[in-house]
């Protein structure tokens, strides 16, 4: 990432809180954000896995896409707004239930990922979607969505006017029970609007750590009060970007710009679940020809998880087969605090993706053993309601 000078960096509504808490501020996606607090990445990571971590993710791109002339008939209005976003992505939005969130990908005409994102059906407003995209890609994403919306719908950016907080970990639900109790009734990948303070907050049961947790969109004027209220609970500690990255890596979740880019398809990235059945059968999404062929096995690379012996293999490290021939590259790699071992995500040809395949990674010119293992590296602990 290009280093921006301090003056160019945007600050989130919680910036002062990070500074006061001793956060080490770094540039990230154009924002000044804490990479860690004084206890360090390892302690923050483990705290999130055992208790509850609070993250400032206000750099992300939350937004609302609203139908301009709703008929008032909820299902018809939802179908109309779904028809605007669906041509850009591979997910089935038309069949979402009110409040349901779907992970999807914005695709180019070649089936490569422009971004990965969350799209949710409003539980309140017919013809409304809640969409959250990545920080580094948000301006381009929003421009694409606005172009698709034309005069039929309006995109309202919530970044800037709102802060986005993530509360993650096994104790998150118990913390929420005292702060926003109604939100604890949400199942994984659902969201709702709840009152907190003078305002409404939007709470999603989702996250980027593999743990149960919540992502809370709050008006910027209430953000510090909510941050402080959550941190007043002794089960909650603030967590920086460093642990956010090690947590998502252990959870096997891809990071756009690293494990995903404009050349990588959902099938290559092992995100086939995000290509919804209805869309697959209709073949009506960008790059469908390539993606459907890849689904039938015609692909040259696939994302795998690697357990690495020895030094961590970082992004860019070559992946070698057992005989030492270069076959792929690491796209994310580091140390997994929960496992005490190095792990990596990377791309290799399909005939090297079987679990248990012995490979090698090249670190500083030396080959180290690596084995293909299932992802997530650390089991997800999402809260799924029995239907």
């Amino acid at each position: 990432m290009a280093e921006a000078s301090a003056e160019d960096l945007k600050q989130t509504p919680l910036y002062e809180r990070h500074v006061v808490a001793g956060g080490r501020i770094v540039p990230f996606g154009g924002y000044a954000l804490p990479v860690q607090y004084p206890t360090g990445i390892m302690a923050e990571h483990k705290w999130t896995r055992e208790q509850a971590g609070l993250f400032d993710v206000s750099h992300m791109g939350p937004s609302f896409l609203m139908l301009n002339n709703p008929s008032g008939e909820a299902e018809a209005d939802h179908k109309a707004i779904a028809a605007i976003i669906e041509p850009l992505i591979c997910g089935d939005i038309a069949n979402l239930k009110p409040g349901q969130i779907r992970y999807s990908l914005l695709l180019n005409q070649d089936g490569g990922a422009i971004d990965d994102l969350m799209v949710a059906r409003s539980p309140i407003t017919p013809g409304g979607l809640y969409i959250v995209v990545n920080a580094g890609t948000k301006d381009n994403d929003f421009a694409l969505i606005e172009a698709a919306a034309g005069d039929k719908a309006t995109l309202i950016r919530a970044d800037g006017d709102y802060a986005l907080l993530a509360l993650q970990g096994p104790e998150a639900v118990n913390v929420m029970a005292s702060e926003i109790p109604e939100a604890t009734d949400l199942g994984f990948m659902n969201y709702g609007a709840f009152s907190w303070g003078k305002d409404k907050v939007f709470v999603a049961r989702s996250g980027y750590t593999g743990e149960d947790g919540f992502e809370i969109l709050v008006n910027r004027h209430e953000a510090v009060a909510l941050w402080d209220a959550l941190l007043a609970d002794t089960r909650v500690k603030p967590i920086g970007l460093g642990a956010r990255d090690s947590l998502r890596l252990e959870a096997g979740l891809p990071l756009y710009g690293h494990d995903l880019d404009s050349t990588v398809s959902p099938i290559e990235a092992d995100l086939g679940f995000a290509v919804s059945k209805r869309r697959r059968e209709a073949g009506d999404f960008p790059g469908a020809a390539r993606i459907l062929a890849e689904r039938e096995g015609k692909l040259s690379r696939k994302r795998v998880g690697l357990l690495v012996e020895g030094a961590p293999a970082r992004e860019g490290a070559e992946i070698l087969d057992a005989s030492g021939t270069a076959i792929g590259v690491v796209t994310s790699g580091g140390f997994a605090p929960s496992l005490g071992k190095a792990i990596a995500l990377g791309f290799v040809p399909p005939d090297h993706t079987a679990i248990g395949t012995k490979l090698q990674v090249s670190v500083r010119g030396r080959a180290q053993p690596a084995e293909v293992v299932p992802t997530p590296f650390v089991p997800h602990r999402y809260f799924r309601k029995s239907a």
């Binding site: 990479v35 860690q36 390892m42 030094a311 961590p312 580091g334 140390f335 605090p337």
Partner: protein, 121 residues
């Protein structure tokens, strides 16, 4: 015994013709939790400024350079299983390698404690 420092945050504790090399407390604070240390092999001949070791934090790898020229005569193999010693005790238990100093004159070009302290204010 005198201890000297490089602007890259290595220290060398000089004991006769041998130097004990590691990273300073300031450096370990900056790096954060050390999860892996790659040490040089004993017998390796280093020139001043050569990459001698690598320390890996959760986030990144950082090179450790030889503060002076010489031959590696011993490494702290405890760090293989306990890399966190670099964080908890950087200037004693967290030392990395011992070097047979080739040219004592190079020691004089390094920073003394006051000079290094000024650098890290």
């Amino acid at each position: 015994m005198t201890t000297k420092f490089t602007p890259d945050h290595e220290y060398i504790r000089v004991d006769g013709s041998t130097g004990i090399v590691g990273i300073t407390n300031y450096a370990q604070e900056q790096l954060g939790d050390i999860v892996f240390v790659e040490l040089p092999s004993v017998g390796k001949v280093l020139k001043k400024g050569d990459e001698a070791a690598v320390v890996e934090s959760v986030k990144a790898a950082s090179e450790i350079y030889a503060p002076v020229s010489g031959e590696v005569v011993e490494v702290n193999s405890l760090l293989t299983n306990e890399p966190g010693l670099v964080n908890s005790d950087p200037e004693n238990g967290g030392w990395m390698f011992k070097i047979a100093i080739k040219d004592a004159g190079e020691i004089d070009t390094l920073l003394d404690a006051d000079g290094y302290a000024e650098l890290t204010l």
